[in-house]
Amino acid sequence: MQYQWDFSLIFDNLPVLWRGVVVTLHLAAMCLLAGLALGFVIALMRLSKFAAARVFGRAFVEFFRNVPALIQLIWFYYAFPILIGAQMSPFMAAFLGITLNTAAFSAEIYRAGIQSLERGQWEGAMAIGMGRAQILRRIILPQVFQRMLPAFTNRAVEVAKVTSLASVISVQELMYQGRLLSSTYYRPLEILTAVGFIYLIVIYPLSLASMLMERRMARNQ
């Protein structure tokens, strides 16, 4: 027997899916911004002259990269509130988990970018009396920012995908709405397939941008 596809309920439920997309984008954008900012601090710690800061930065990166993101979300939702003795909304738990995860990965992007610049650039700036912070801000970062851009865009792709895990702790983003609809209508095939295509539409432009940037940089070399 041929399966009768029924995509009409997708169109009927577009507003629900759209609400999910908005939450997904909202969560992804917040986690990306906060993760990039925190990641920069962690990268500075990893490059610090103080051993204690280096050890902490290294431990942070290794820990969050070597533990599944889903565990991090669940930990922040179920375990962290016990530790601080306060309730935590699913959105907040997801935000914290994904942000720390993103920070660990982006710290490595910053670090690799900063270290990719020849030592001579530091020395040239030191020789005219510039301090470390000045050198980083005026000499190093402007040169490596462009090199890091594709990696950051890739990170944005990963963040957008990781937000789907928040459905497990009931954040009402796209994946959550998809699961809810598919169990309500007993139409998992149409709904999950449609959700897949919605993710593709949202995320693919980012991948494309990163690919084009990489290609242009390769050509300019």
Partner: protein, 220 residues
């Protein structure tokens, strides 16, 4: 009142955690093995001389790269049976989801490794009278293999971490068993902290092992 930690209550449930760990290792091994096969096929498609085959390979990779993993778990578990009348158990569905998506990522590792070999190597092999397959097997792959080790290891680690998503299909891997432990002991803080540490220990020791292995392979 400060929280009183009690890891002993959680550790008392070690048989559950151990079976979870074994479940994680089992599905990771299956997914990596199957993923390598899928990845090899997709990489071959992407390097094909026929453009429709290349296009198909590209679509496959782009699709998996731009959709979240958890979706594929649900799709294979809930949606595929509707389409094919084949009902999959949690392990089969999770392993299929992992293998197909890791296949896409491994394909990129293989293709990247082969692409990184200079054109002169192909030309040198051709000048000796080798055909494409021979050149690939005898000249290109031996050189490319070494460059693939690091990205291959990285991808495999991602797969091991992604196995935790199988818990959403009630497959008894580490996270799922951990959830059971948390609900038995009413100690989610200790349980999930312990889970994180177990994953960390597993992956960190594997990565140390991989680094050691890689350094041993630096022959030239």
């Amino acid at each position: 009142m400060p929280y009183e930690w009690d890891f002993l209550a959680v550790l008392a449930q070690w048989p559950l955690l151990l079976s979870g760990l074994l479940g994680t290792i089992k599905i990771a091994v299956i997914a990596i093995a199957a993923g390598v096969i899928v990845g090899g096929l997709v990489a071959a498609m992407r390097l094909s001389r026929l453009w429709p085959v290349r296009l198909l390979g590209t679509i496959y990779v782009d699709f998996y790269r731009n959709t979240p993993g958890i979706l594929h778990f649900f799709w294979f578990y809930y949606a595929l049976p509707v389409l094919s009348n084949v009902s999959l158990g949690p392990l089969e569905a999770a392993a299929l989801a992992l293998a197909t998506q890791s296949g896409a990522f491994y394909a990129e590792v293989f293709r990247g490794g082969i692409g990184s070999i200079r054109k002169g190597q192909w030309e040198g092999a051709k000048a000796l009278g080798m055909i494409r397959g021979q050149a690939l097997r005898r000249v290109i792959l031996p050189q490319a293999a070494r460059r693939m080790i690091a990205p291959f290891t990285e991808r495999s680690f991602e797969i091991i971490k992604t196995t935790s998503l199988a818990s959403t299909l009630s497959y008894g891997e580490l996270l799922y068993q951990g959830m059971m432990v948390a609900s038995i002991t009413f100690r989610p803080l200790e349980t999930y902290t312990l889970l994180a540490l177990i994953y960390f220990a597993l992956l960190f020791s594997l990565s140390a092992l991989a680094k050691w292995g890689e350094s041993r392979l630096q022959a030239y």
